[in-house]
Amino acid sequence: MHSARIVLRGCCVEKVELKNICVSYGEHAVLKDFSLKIEPSQIIGIVGPSGCGKTTIARAICGFIKPQQGTVKIDGKTMFSHEDRVDIPPEQRHIGVVFQDYAVWPHLSVYDNIAYPLKKRRLSKEEISLQVQNALEQVNMVGYEKYMPSQLSGGQQQRVAIARALTSSSDFLIMDEPITNLDAKLREQMLVEIRMLQQRLGTTIIYITHDQEAALQLCDKIVILEPDGSIAQIGSDEEIIRNPANRFVFQFIGVSNFIPVVVEDGKVFFDLEKKILFKSLIHEKIPGPKAMLGIRPMDIVFDDDSPVRATVTQSVFLGNMYNYFVRLPGMEIRVQQMVISENAKFYSEEQEVGLAFLEERYFEREEA
């Protein structure tokens, strides 16, 4: 493989720094006093429900919108500052951008699409050709130089978009929902390819998505945003799954159950239609006499000896898993079981079962 350019940065300079960014569209405030530091040479996911402002953050970094307040710095250099009246236009910020709808120019060939940023920088023909070849290798599209975008599939167009972003800037990319429009199999494949690309080149990638699955699979660090634009947690996939910072993060990943609990006489009871004894010895910290128990469906197991009894209301066989809806007195919860054997015990509707809970977490109970 030709030599890829790996750009080393001093470990103390953040790649991107956002300070006190405020963005409003008319009356509606999307980002309020938002600050974030992004380290170089990692894939950082910015994840959140729609409307939380994640795209706005990306656009502010790129220069497509002007925040009403705050500063944007890339590699320590100020790109935007409201106070100092600095606003570097997008074409001078040197960021590679990959758009959700690929935005590959239909009137230019694959080669010309990828070469465009280099032409804008007035590089020599030989240098351009070399870098375009390089980029094509990175995305496995060598040989497609003369193709027109209309002759390519969605996945191939996406790769061209990535290659073009790489020639624009091989050390900093922003990707906005780049794989949403692809089918399931291709999505998996692209995630693997993006990861391998990043490892080869050491690029910093900001990956914007609402798809938690993609973020968990791909990113070194994930920034989870609450609907109002504030940061709920920043952490690796392991941290987010095993140590969610708050109820929103816990709820955001996959499916979850919340059961109200109450602490009396040093024991924990389920606070439902009737009080059910859950734990006689408390090891964890429980926030307050009244709290919420958060537990994932996969962490509830059937245990005939458990004092906690419930009735199965629905059971669905999905192949690798059983999905159950189970009723406790006063609420219905979800239970999931991996199918580990053909002879695994299967519970049908109306059956009475005992439940055991593993890896439970306690959160504050908000008064309705």
Partner: protein, 367 residues
């Protein structure tokens, strides 16, 4: 009682670009009254064509179709009952609700065709709308409503004449993912309440397994296997069915004297003690969820990669020079590089598939 019977049904097409294609080959099936039955397969496998033949939108090239004991399609005897006389309910993939009629008129249409009285129509339509949770929307037009609501209009319209059989063509694929589960429950509930037989077509194995009493898997016009979802998942007759019904690992192995070795390195003992009397080259098929990953005993392996999924953790573990995938709940946590052990449970053994079959499948996918 057999509600729907297909005997030796075959359908061929001739196109200019591809010549003659046999879309459905010697299809034999009996669906019992009240069953929920699905046709599962990749695109181009012939499942939708078969459904359309049952509905009467396509002619047969060979064979016969019986509905409720009555012969409705037979090429040899030149019998063809048009769709409007087959008394079926059908829901199409893109809903096909009529944009120029409001919800009430959409649902009332089948009754108007049969010349029911206005008062009878009103009663039935309102009852059906109530069952489907569309009360209050009678005067709305489809373009004002969401995809899920349009789906329900299509369902209501099919149900309002109390058909014995409902045909559903990819009913959930045009809905948002989070809507799909609730729609699945809706359809099941409606079946319980109204008691009709359902045949539905899908390419989504989870959907098929969740909804069906029995199902079949089709590939390139041929039925591969018929049975309950559990039967198909746990006892697939070939590698295609195995792979189609869920995530799988396929490992090339050599079996000698009841012991299983990796094909790439015949000294590497993977597994001892198959009770089956097999010898030679085989493909070992395993489910990622049915492999026990632990720190105590089994086949020695290293964690190569960890991928977090929303519902479980996925680990790629080394097997010889290759790897297999293991899925396990989040609470079973390992790090990349950890030395572990795997115990393979209930593997299935298949003879390796020939290259020709792979090529033909690729060709059909482009149609």
């Amino acid at each position: 009682m057999d509600q729907i019977v297909l005997e030796h049904v075959t359908k061929s097409f001739t196109t200019k670009s591809l010549g003659t294609v046999v879309a459905v080959k010697d299809f034999n099936l009996s669906v019992k009254k009240g069953e929920c039955f699905s046709f599962l397969g990749p695109s181009g496998c012939g499942k939708t064509t078969t459904l359309r033949m049952i509905a009467g939108f396509e002619d047969l090239s060979e064979g016969s179709i019986y509905l409720d004991g009555r012969l409705v399609s037979d090429k040899k005897k030149n019998i063809y009952l048009p769709p409007e006389k087959r008394k079926l309910g059908m829901v199409f993939q893109a809903f096909a609700v009529w944009p120029h009629l409001n919800v009430y008129d959409n649902v009332a249409f089948p009754l108007k065709v049969k010349k029911y009285s206005n008062s009878e129509i009103k009663k039935r339509v309102e009852l059906t709308l109530h069952h489907i949770n569309l009360d209050g929307l009678e005067k709305a037009y489809p373009s004002d409503l969401s995809g899920g609501q349009q789906q329900r209009i299509a369902l209501a319209r099919a149900i309002v004449v109390n058909p014995d059989v409902m045909l559903l063509d990819e009913p959930l694929s045009n809905l948002d993912p989070h809507l799909r589960e609730s729609m699945r429950f809706e359809i099941k509930r409606l079946q319980k309440e109204f008691g009709f037989t359902i045949i539905f077509v899908t390419h989504d194995q989870a959907e098929a397994m969740a909804l069906s009493d029995r199902m079949l898997v089709m590939d390139m016009g041929n039925i591969q296997q018929i049975g309950t979802p559990q039967e198909l998942y746990h006892k697939p007759v070939n590698q295609f069915v195995y792979g189609f019904l869920g995530q799988s690992n396929f490992t090339d192995v050599v079996i000698k004297d009841g012991r299983v070795f990796l094909k790439e390195d015949e000294s590497n003992l993977l597994f001892a003690g198959t009770s089956l009397d097999l010898k030679g080259d085989y493909v070992m098929a395993t489910r990622p969820n049915a492999i026990d990953l632990n720190r105590h005993d089994g086949y020695k392996t290293t964690i190569l990669k960890r991928t977090s999924r929303t519902e479980f953790m996925e680990y790629m573990v080394s097997v010889g020079k290759g790897s297999i995938i293991v899925q396990t709940p989040h609470r079973n946590f390992f790090r990349v590089g950890d030395q572990c052990f795997i115990k393979i449970k209930e593997p299935k053994w298949y003879k390796p598939e020939s290259k020709d079959i792979e090529e033909e499948r690729k060709r059909r996918n482009t149609i």
